[in-house]
Protein backbone atom coordinates (compact mmCIF):
# COMPACT_ATOMS: atom_id res chain seq x y z
CA UNK A 1 0.00 0.00 0.00
CA UNK A 2 1.30 3.47 -0.84
CA UNK A 3 1.47 6.12 1.82
CA UNK A 4 -0.67 9.07 0.75
CA UNK A 5 0.23 12.61 1.75
CA UNK A 6 -2.63 14.07 3.78
CA UNK A 7 -0.84 17.31 4.53
CA UNK A 8 -2.38 19.45 1.74
CA UNK A 9 -5.92 18.75 3.00
CA UNK A 10 -4.90 19.33 6.61
CA UNK A 11 -3.20 22.62 5.70
CA UNK A 12 -6.21 23.74 3.64
CA UNK A 13 -8.51 23.10 6.61
CA UNK A 14 -6.22 24.93 9.02
CA UNK A 15 -5.81 27.88 6.63
CA UNK A 16 -9.45 28.82 7.39
CA UNK A 17 -8.41 29.72 10.93
CA UNK A 18 -4.98 31.24 10.44
CA UNK A 19 -5.64 34.39 8.42
CA UNK A 20 -2.50 35.54 6.59
CA UNK A 21 -0.25 33.29 8.66
CA UNK A 22 1.50 30.51 6.70
CA UNK A 23 1.59 27.57 9.04
CA UNK A 24 4.78 25.46 8.89
CA UNK A 25 4.36 21.67 8.97
CA UNK A 26 6.22 21.35 12.25
CA UNK A 27 4.82 24.50 13.89
CA UNK A 28 2.81 24.04 17.10
CA UNK A 29 -0.72 24.96 16.05
CA UNK A 30 -1.70 25.91 19.58
CA UNK A 31 1.33 28.12 20.25
CA UNK A 32 0.53 30.58 17.46
CA UNK A 33 -2.22 32.49 19.28
CA UNK A 34 -4.62 31.98 16.35
CA UNK A 35 -6.56 29.17 18.01
CA UNK A 36 -7.03 28.09 21.62
CA UNK A 37 -6.90 24.64 23.18
CA UNK A 38 -10.61 24.01 22.50
CA UNK A 39 -9.84 24.04 18.75
CA UNK A 40 -8.52 20.51 19.17
CA UNK A 41 -12.15 19.23 19.19
CA UNK A 42 -12.70 20.74 15.73
CA UNK A 43 -9.48 19.10 14.55
CA UNK A 44 -10.54 15.65 15.78
CA UNK A 45 -13.94 15.91 14.07
CA UNK A 46 -12.25 17.19 10.89
CA UNK A 47 -9.76 14.32 10.54
CA UNK A 48 -12.48 11.76 11.29
CA UNK A 49 -14.85 13.21 8.71
CA UNK A 50 -12.29 14.09 6.05
CA UNK A 51 -10.25 10.87 6.14
CA UNK A 52 -12.91 8.38 7.26
CA UNK A 53 -10.99 7.27 10.34
CA UNK A 54 -12.05 6.77 13.94
CA UNK A 55 -9.85 8.40 16.54
CA UNK A 56 -9.86 6.04 19.53
CA UNK A 57 -9.63 7.16 23.14
CA UNK A 58 -5.97 6.18 23.34
CA UNK A 59 -5.18 8.45 20.34
CA UNK A 60 -6.74 11.47 22.04
CA UNK A 61 -3.42 12.94 23.14
CA UNK A 62 -2.43 16.49 22.25
CA UNK A 63 0.83 15.24 20.69
CA UNK A 64 -1.21 13.68 17.86
CA UNK A 65 -2.89 16.99 16.99
CA UNK A 66 -0.48 19.85 17.61
CA UNK A 67 1.38 19.96 14.27
CA UNK A 68 0.55 19.21 10.66
CA UNK A 69 3.21 16.47 10.68
CA UNK A 70 1.66 14.82 13.77
CA UNK A 71 -1.81 14.95 12.22
CA UNK A 72 -0.51 13.45 8.97
CA UNK A 73 1.23 10.65 10.90
CA UNK A 74 -1.96 9.93 12.88
CA UNK A 75 -4.09 9.73 9.72
CA UNK A 76 -1.52 7.50 8.01
CA UNK A 77 -1.41 5.18 11.02
CA UNK A 78 -5.20 4.97 11.43
CA UNK A 79 -5.72 4.38 7.71
CA UNK A 80 -3.12 1.57 7.74
CA UNK A 81 -4.95 -0.06 10.66
CA UNK A 82 -8.27 0.36 8.85
CA UNK A 83 -6.84 -1.18 5.64
CA UNK A 84 -5.36 -4.11 7.60
CA UNK A 85 -8.72 -4.68 9.31
CA UNK A 86 -10.53 -4.71 5.96
CA UNK A 87 -8.06 -7.18 4.39
CA UNK A 88 -8.12 -9.48 7.42
Amino acid sequence: MTTADHKPQILAFLAQFFGEHRLAEDEDIFATGFVNSLFVMQLVLFVEGEFGITVEDEDLEIGNFNTVLALDALVTRKRAVGAADRSA
Binding site: F17, S37, V40, F46
Partner: protein, 289 residues
Protein backbone atom coordinates in the same frame (compact mmCIF):
# COMPACT_ATOMS: atom_id res chain seq x y z
CA UNK B 1 -21.56 19.01 56.86
CA UNK B 2 -22.32 15.57 55.47
CA UNK B 3 -21.58 14.44 51.94
CA UNK B 4 -23.74 15.67 49.09
CA UNK B 5 -25.06 12.82 46.95
CA UNK B 6 -27.87 14.06 44.74
CA UNK B 7 -27.55 17.32 42.82
CA UNK B 8 -30.27 18.88 40.69
CA UNK B 9 -29.07 20.86 37.68
CA UNK B 10 -31.67 23.19 36.17
CA UNK B 11 -31.04 24.20 32.55
CA UNK B 12 -29.18 21.98 30.08
CA UNK B 13 -27.41 24.70 28.10
CA UNK B 14 -23.65 25.23 27.84
CA UNK B 15 -23.16 25.56 31.62
CA UNK B 16 -25.73 22.97 32.72
CA UNK B 17 -24.29 20.23 30.53
CA UNK B 18 -20.73 20.99 31.65
CA UNK B 19 -21.85 20.92 35.28
CA UNK B 20 -23.81 17.68 34.89
CA UNK B 21 -20.70 16.11 33.35
CA UNK B 22 -18.38 17.31 36.12
CA UNK B 23 -20.81 16.21 38.85
CA UNK B 24 -21.34 12.76 37.31
CA UNK B 25 -17.58 12.31 36.88
CA UNK B 26 -17.09 13.01 40.58
CA UNK B 27 -19.62 10.28 41.43
CA UNK B 28 -22.72 12.36 42.15
CA UNK B 29 -26.23 11.37 41.19
CA UNK B 30 -27.37 14.16 38.86
CA UNK B 31 -30.91 15.25 37.97
CA UNK B 32 -30.69 17.36 34.80
CA UNK B 33 -33.91 19.20 33.99
CA UNK B 34 -34.87 21.30 30.98
CA UNK B 35 -38.05 22.13 29.09
CA UNK B 36 -38.03 19.63 26.21
CA UNK B 37 -36.84 16.11 25.39
CA UNK B 38 -35.07 17.58 22.37
CA UNK B 39 -32.91 19.85 24.54
CA UNK B 40 -32.11 16.91 26.83
CA UNK B 41 -31.10 14.69 23.91
CA UNK B 42 -28.75 17.44 22.74
CA UNK B 43 -27.40 17.70 26.28
CA UNK B 44 -26.66 13.97 26.40
CA UNK B 45 -24.73 14.26 23.12
CA UNK B 46 -22.77 17.22 24.50
CA UNK B 47 -21.91 15.34 27.69
CA UNK B 48 -20.74 12.30 25.68
CA UNK B 49 -18.56 14.62 23.62
CA UNK B 50 -17.25 16.32 26.75
CA UNK B 51 -16.32 12.96 28.28
CA UNK B 52 -14.61 11.91 25.06
CA UNK B 53 -12.50 15.04 24.71
CA UNK B 54 -11.79 15.55 28.42
CA UNK B 55 -8.29 14.10 28.42
CA UNK B 56 -7.34 16.04 25.33
CA UNK B 57 -8.34 19.24 27.15
CA UNK B 58 -6.21 18.42 30.15
CA UNK B 59 -8.37 16.18 32.38
CA UNK B 60 -6.34 14.03 34.78
CA UNK B 61 -7.04 10.83 36.68
CA UNK B 62 -8.21 7.41 35.56
CA UNK B 63 -10.41 7.10 32.49
CA UNK B 64 -13.90 5.93 33.44
CA UNK B 65 -16.30 4.18 31.09
CA UNK B 66 -18.51 6.84 29.47
CA UNK B 67 -21.74 4.84 29.90
CA UNK B 68 -21.03 4.36 33.61
CA UNK B 69 -20.69 8.12 34.05
CA UNK B 70 -23.79 8.85 31.95
CA UNK B 71 -25.90 6.39 33.99
CA UNK B 72 -25.48 8.68 37.00
CA UNK B 73 -27.49 11.37 35.18
CA UNK B 74 -31.30 11.37 35.08
CA UNK B 75 -32.59 13.51 32.21
CA UNK B 76 -36.01 14.93 33.05
CA UNK B 77 -38.50 17.56 31.93
CA UNK B 78 -40.61 17.16 35.11
CA UNK B 79 -38.22 17.79 38.05
CA UNK B 80 -38.29 14.02 38.65
CA UNK B 81 -36.31 13.08 41.77
CA UNK B 82 -35.89 16.65 43.07
CA UNK B 83 -37.59 15.64 46.34
CA UNK B 84 -34.27 13.87 47.08
CA UNK B 85 -31.97 16.68 45.95
CA UNK B 86 -29.35 17.72 48.52
CA UNK B 87 -28.27 20.65 46.39
CA UNK B 88 -29.62 22.39 43.26
CA UNK B 89 -27.68 24.52 40.77
CA UNK B 90 -29.76 26.70 38.46
CA UNK B 91 -28.29 27.64 35.06
CA UNK B 92 -31.18 28.96 32.99
CA UNK B 93 -31.15 31.99 30.72
CA UNK B 94 -30.64 35.44 32.32
CA UNK B 95 -34.35 36.31 32.25
CA UNK B 96 -35.71 37.37 35.62
CA UNK B 97 -39.30 36.36 34.81
CA UNK B 98 -38.23 32.84 33.87
CA UNK B 99 -35.93 32.55 36.87
CA UNK B 100 -38.69 33.54 39.29
CA UNK B 101 -40.89 30.75 37.93
CA UNK B 102 -38.10 28.20 38.26
CA UNK B 103 -37.33 29.17 41.88
CA UNK B 104 -41.01 28.98 42.85
CA UNK B 105 -41.14 25.47 41.38
CA UNK B 106 -37.89 24.41 43.09
CA UNK B 107 -39.11 25.78 46.41
CA UNK B 108 -42.23 23.62 46.09
CA UNK B 109 -40.60 20.33 44.98
CA UNK B 110 -37.39 20.31 47.06
CA UNK B 111 -37.22 19.60 50.81
CA UNK B 112 -36.55 22.58 53.12
CA UNK B 113 -32.91 21.48 53.68
CA UNK B 114 -31.97 21.75 49.98
CA UNK B 115 -29.51 24.52 49.13
CA UNK B 116 -30.09 26.47 45.91
CA UNK B 117 -27.13 27.89 44.00
CA UNK B 118 -27.70 30.33 41.17
CA UNK B 119 -25.12 30.02 38.42
CA UNK B 120 -26.10 33.43 37.12
CA UNK B 121 -24.00 36.01 35.30
CA UNK B 122 -25.42 39.26 36.62
CA UNK B 123 -28.73 38.81 38.51
CA UNK B 124 -28.34 39.74 42.21
CA UNK B 125 -28.38 36.73 44.53
CA UNK B 126 -30.38 38.62 47.15
CA UNK B 127 -33.19 39.11 44.63
CA UNK B 128 -33.15 35.40 43.78
CA UNK B 129 -33.22 34.49 47.49
CA UNK B 130 -36.26 36.72 47.96
CA UNK B 131 -38.13 34.70 45.32
CA UNK B 132 -37.93 31.63 47.63
CA UNK B 133 -39.05 30.81 51.17
CA UNK B 134 -35.42 30.00 52.10
CA UNK B 135 -33.24 33.06 51.35
CA UNK B 136 -30.71 31.81 53.93
CA UNK B 137 -30.15 28.69 51.83
CA UNK B 138 -29.59 30.51 48.51
CA UNK B 139 -26.19 31.60 47.22
CA UNK B 140 -24.47 32.32 43.94
CA UNK B 141 -22.04 29.86 42.41
CA UNK B 142 -20.56 31.21 39.24
CA UNK B 143 -18.93 28.27 37.49
CA UNK B 144 -16.49 28.89 34.66
CA UNK B 145 -16.64 27.31 31.24
CA UNK B 146 -15.74 24.53 30.43
CA UNK B 147 -16.83 23.47 33.92
CA UNK B 148 -14.89 20.15 34.10
CA UNK B 149 -11.61 21.97 33.35
CA UNK B 150 -11.85 24.98 35.64
CA UNK B 151 -10.54 24.62 39.21
CA UNK B 152 -12.14 27.71 40.76
CA UNK B 153 -15.69 29.01 41.23
CA UNK B 154 -16.80 32.50 42.19
CA UNK B 155 -19.16 32.13 45.18
CA UNK B 156 -21.55 34.96 46.02
CA UNK B 157 -23.11 35.56 49.43
CA UNK B 158 -26.58 37.12 49.23
CA UNK B 159 -27.89 39.42 51.96
CA UNK B 160 -29.49 36.52 53.88
CA UNK B 161 -27.15 33.66 52.89
CA UNK B 162 -26.12 31.75 56.05
CA UNK B 163 -22.62 30.59 56.98
CA UNK B 164 -23.92 26.99 56.90
CA UNK B 165 -25.03 27.43 53.29
CA UNK B 166 -21.59 28.69 52.31
CA UNK B 167 -20.06 25.65 54.07
CA UNK B 168 -22.38 23.28 52.21
CA UNK B 169 -21.37 24.87 48.90
CA UNK B 170 -17.70 24.52 49.82
CA UNK B 171 -18.29 20.84 50.60
CA UNK B 172 -19.79 20.27 47.16
CA UNK B 173 -16.89 22.10 45.52
CA UNK B 174 -14.38 19.98 47.44
CA UNK B 175 -16.16 16.85 46.21
CA UNK B 176 -15.81 18.24 42.66
CA UNK B 177 -12.11 18.90 43.23
CA UNK B 178 -12.71 22.64 43.03
CA UNK B 179 -12.31 25.65 45.27
CA UNK B 180 -14.52 28.68 45.80
CA UNK B 181 -13.64 32.34 46.16
CA UNK B 182 -16.31 34.13 48.20
CA UNK B 183 -17.45 37.65 47.28
CA UNK B 184 -20.37 39.83 48.29
CA UNK B 185 -23.51 40.35 46.23
CA UNK B 186 -23.36 42.99 43.49
CA UNK B 187 -24.58 42.95 39.87
CA UNK B 188 -22.05 41.01 37.79
CA UNK B 189 -20.08 40.16 40.98
CA UNK B 190 -16.34 40.47 40.30
CA UNK B 191 -15.96 38.34 37.18
CA UNK B 192 -18.70 39.63 34.94
CA UNK B 193 -18.55 43.25 36.02
CA UNK B 194 -15.09 43.31 34.44
CA UNK B 195 -15.34 40.57 31.81
CA UNK B 196 -18.57 41.75 30.17
CA UNK B 197 -17.26 45.31 29.86
CA UNK B 198 -14.00 43.96 28.41
CA UNK B 199 -15.82 41.80 25.87
CA UNK B 200 -18.18 44.64 24.94
CA UNK B 201 -15.25 47.03 24.48
CA UNK B 202 -13.42 44.42 22.37
CA UNK B 203 -16.53 44.17 20.16
CA UNK B 204 -16.45 47.98 19.80
CA UNK B 205 -12.84 47.74 18.54
CA UNK B 206 -13.95 45.31 15.82
CA UNK B 207 -17.06 47.42 15.11
CA UNK B 208 -14.94 50.55 14.64
CA UNK B 209 -12.38 48.75 12.45
CA UNK B 210 -9.53 49.37 14.87
CA UNK B 211 -8.59 45.67 14.80
CA UNK B 212 -9.99 42.36 13.62
CA UNK B 213 -11.15 39.70 16.08
CA UNK B 214 -7.96 37.66 15.52
CA UNK B 215 -5.74 40.65 16.26
CA UNK B 216 -7.64 41.56 19.43
CA UNK B 217 -7.50 38.00 20.76
CA UNK B 218 -3.87 37.39 19.79
CA UNK B 219 -2.86 40.55 21.65
CA UNK B 220 -4.50 39.27 24.82
CA UNK B 221 -2.99 35.80 24.43
CA UNK B 222 0.53 36.65 23.37
CA UNK B 223 1.03 40.00 25.17
CA UNK B 224 -0.86 39.24 28.40
CA UNK B 225 -0.54 35.46 28.49
CA UNK B 226 -4.31 34.94 28.66
CA UNK B 227 -5.43 31.45 27.61
CA UNK B 228 -8.16 32.93 25.43
CA UNK B 229 -8.85 36.39 24.06
CA UNK B 230 -12.07 38.29 24.90
CA UNK B 231 -13.80 37.51 21.60
CA UNK B 232 -13.02 33.79 21.73
CA UNK B 233 -14.35 33.88 25.27
CA UNK B 234 -17.50 35.60 24.01
CA UNK B 235 -17.96 32.84 21.41
CA UNK B 236 -17.51 30.21 24.13
CA UNK B 237 -20.02 31.82 26.52
CA UNK B 238 -22.52 32.59 23.74
CA UNK B 239 -23.09 36.09 22.34
CA UNK B 240 -26.74 36.01 23.44
CA UNK B 241 -25.62 35.47 27.04
CA UNK B 242 -23.02 38.23 26.70
CA UNK B 243 -25.68 40.66 25.42
CA UNK B 244 -28.11 39.72 28.20
CA UNK B 245 -25.35 40.23 30.76
CA UNK B 246 -24.29 43.62 29.40
CA UNK B 247 -27.93 44.69 29.32
CA UNK B 248 -28.34 43.37 32.87
CA UNK B 249 -25.40 45.49 34.07
CA UNK B 250 -26.77 48.51 32.21
CA UNK B 251 -30.13 48.08 33.92
CA UNK B 252 -28.62 47.42 37.36
CA UNK B 253 -26.23 50.38 37.46
CA UNK B 254 -28.09 52.81 35.13
CA UNK B 255 -24.64 53.67 33.83
CA UNK B 256 -24.00 54.32 30.13
CA UNK B 257 -20.59 52.63 30.30
CA UNK B 258 -22.48 49.32 30.04
CA UNK B 259 -24.24 50.21 26.78
CA UNK B 260 -24.10 47.17 24.43
CA UNK B 261 -22.12 47.55 21.21
CA UNK B 262 -24.43 47.69 18.14
CA UNK B 263 -22.32 44.97 16.45
CA UNK B 264 -23.00 42.62 19.37
CA UNK B 265 -26.74 43.28 19.05
CA UNK B 266 -26.62 42.72 15.28
CA UNK B 267 -24.71 39.44 15.61
CA UNK B 268 -27.25 38.11 18.12
CA UNK B 269 -30.11 39.19 15.81
CA UNK B 270 -28.36 37.34 12.96
CA UNK B 271 -28.08 34.14 14.99
CA UNK B 272 -24.28 34.34 15.17
CA UNK B 273 -24.12 33.17 18.77
CA UNK B 274 -20.61 31.71 18.79
CA UNK B 275 -19.48 28.15 19.41
CA UNK B 276 -22.97 26.80 20.08
CA UNK B 277 -24.38 28.05 16.75
CA UNK B 278 -21.23 27.19 14.75
CA UNK B 279 -20.36 30.81 13.95
CA UNK B 280 -19.59 33.91 16.00
CA UNK B 281 -16.44 35.99 15.75
CA UNK B 282 -14.90 32.71 14.56
CA UNK B 283 -16.04 29.72 12.54
CA UNK B 284 -16.45 26.38 14.29
CA UNK B 285 -16.34 24.41 11.04
CA UNK B 286 -15.17 20.83 11.12
CA UNK B 287 -14.98 20.48 7.32
CA UNK B 288 -12.98 22.02 4.50
CA UNK B 289 -14.54 25.26 3.22
Amino acid sequence: MSEIHTVGVVGAGVMGTGLAQALAQSGHRVLLVDRTEEILEGAERKIREGLRFGRLLGAKGPREDRDTVLKRITFTTAYEGFEEADFVIENITEDWGLKQGVYRRLDAVCPPRTVFAANTSVIPITRIGAATSRPDRVLGMHFMNPVPMKPTVEMIRGHHTSAGTVDTARTLLAQLGKEGILVEDSPGFVTNRVLMLTVNEAVYLVHEGVAGAEEVDRIFKTCFGHTMGPLETADLIGLDTILQSVEGLYAAFSDSKYRPCPLLVRMVDAGLLGRKSGQGFYSYATTLA
